[in-house]
Symmetry: C2
Subunit: 347 residues, 2 copies
Amino acid sequence: MITIKEIARQLDMSTTTVSNVIHGKTKEVSPETIERVQRFLDQVEYVPNMTARNLAQNKSKIIGAVLKTTEDRYSHILMDPFVSEMLGGIETAVREAGYFLMLYISDDIAEIIERITTWNADGLLLFWMMDDDAARVHKKYRKPVVSIDTYMSRETAEQFDQDLLVNIGLEDEQGAYDATSYLIGKGHRKIAFLSDKKDGVDQMRFRGYRRALSDAGIEYSDRYYFLMRSTRDEIDESLDRLAEKARKVTAVVCTSDMFAAMFLNACIRHGLRVPEDISFVGFDDITNISSRLCRPRLTTVHQDIGGKGMLAANTLIGMIQGRNPSGSEIIMNTRLVERESVADRRQ
Amino acid sequence: MITIKEIARQLDMSTTTVSNVIHGKTKEVSPETIERVQRFLDQVEYVPNMTARNLAQNKSKIIGAVLKTTEDRYSHILMDPFVSEMLGGIETAVREAGYFLMLYISDDIAEIIERITTWNADGLLLFWMMDDDAARVHKKYRKPVVSIDTYMSRETAEQFDQDLLVNIGLEDEQGAYDATSYLIGKGHRKIAFLSDKKDGVDQMRFRGYRRALSDAGIEYSDRYYFLMRSTRDEIDESLDRLAEKARKVTAVVCTSDMFAAMFLNACIRHGLRVPEDISFVGFDDITNISSRLCRPRLTTVHQDIGGKGMLAANTLIGMIQGRNPSGSEIIMNTRLVERESVADRRQ
DNA sequence: TTGAAAGCGCTAACAA
DNA sequence: TTGTTAGCGCTTTCAA
């Protein structure tokens, strides 16, 4: 790989001049010189050495995607279709902006922080992070951060320097409210709620579900909380166990399309008909699942996952480049899309 | 972030000494000094600056995962569940070995090469790459490369320096042969082959399918090649169109679980019963799809995707660290797993 | 056993 | 308009 120094030597000029035309700082360079350098650059197909450039400029061009996992995840987090779609959007945006994506995945926040700092990442994308982890990151890392689907406490959020943190979220509560109300409108009264966690996003969706129930004067019972176990060893058994409980209910709102489609299958295997005996509403609208892998097609709460990823990345890059974020939070919409997994129970 | 220089100053010693104990080159350092430095290092939670270290050592600790896409892909390549699972395995292995994963995704091989060289990646993982692209990479990049599921021509492969290239593959031909033979054994005679491409892996699988047919004395007709269009705009329409042709056939072997499950649904929507009217065999055995999202559960050709990814990464890292690869090719096994999507047609 | 100093490739302040 | 040079943080050779 040819260096600037070598180019300068061959062209018999200084490295400064070469460097200047590389960076388009050509106000003070004569046209002929520009031309000469440019031609040579093209000819030798010069590619800058990122490492050297970064060291000199104390930056890295790296955007870190931080995924803190739990030890007992049912499979690698990259296999979660929601994560895949989000990362797809992020990767596209990051690449198009001339940055590079580095994944920081671990169940150990200290390890993640070490990897972030050792690379001097220019900015961070934090996925649904818990308060204490966010605080630990912030303690060591004072650069732009965009959190995604994160419900941070006011106290933690306030620790962050103003306009160094923005959160991109979803109207989770409202989305679940709409889904549940939709079911109620179709005549359902015994409606279960399925999730595999009880915090963050799931908690907010649960709230929306509860509110819809309560607004319709329907009493909630803990028996309607279908908490599934999603680790590799337990998922199938858990789905089967819940499928038995499903007979007590006419509908279930699920916190993901993936779980909805899996649970739907488990129910059918247990002799229930969908949607005649039991209706399903999913969440996220992962098209491949909700409309191509699930049968019947899944009625679900749509969100623009890829768009959210791109927005998060672009917002972060804007902050890195010194543009002030337009606010500390962006909440994206949901929209219920009706397909075939809900029965009308009104006579 | 504290630097070695600053540490040396505070401890009143040279940077060399500090650097030496950081790297465990302690043969020539007194125990007291080691102790003193170590304690200080822990206390200030020193994290090395990768950029500086890499510049000094002319390396990067970066493993590049190269995914050359085609412009008209139906969605971001990270959303392909096969890719997700593979990258999951790779990410784990790379991280555990103390390396960092960087994704080089683009439909433009020149752009990919530029990104690789600008970062001075220590090694490359090439996914199902075409001959000419592989050749172009090799022309600019002379470091360890592990290709995955790549059928490189002898000429191209020979251009690579010995023990700088190893391929990790699958017995694609045999896997498809087994799947097809299994169907034949169950009394099927009119068997279609479904894929969305005709090169590389798909080509080999097609060969296995053909060979099984021919070994059983069954004549092949081009009408049995179900070539689907998988771009976002065309996939559903294509699936529907093929579902009509499906009536002419009693079984179909598919080159992925994803397509199998989608096509299976399309067929059912078109009034066919599975497996009574039409049987399916998938490929890859993505558990979430084959056994949790697909109904009936999918009989499929199993391969250990995550294991393949880890093997590829570990092989590459071995090469980077100077260990000679044990061979230029590793072919992994397949195994047919019987589930519920194939009917027995023998009386 | 420890330290001085050059050098990795590039940028940028400053001088000419 | 162009060039000199210091310096980014770290490694490593060589000398002390």
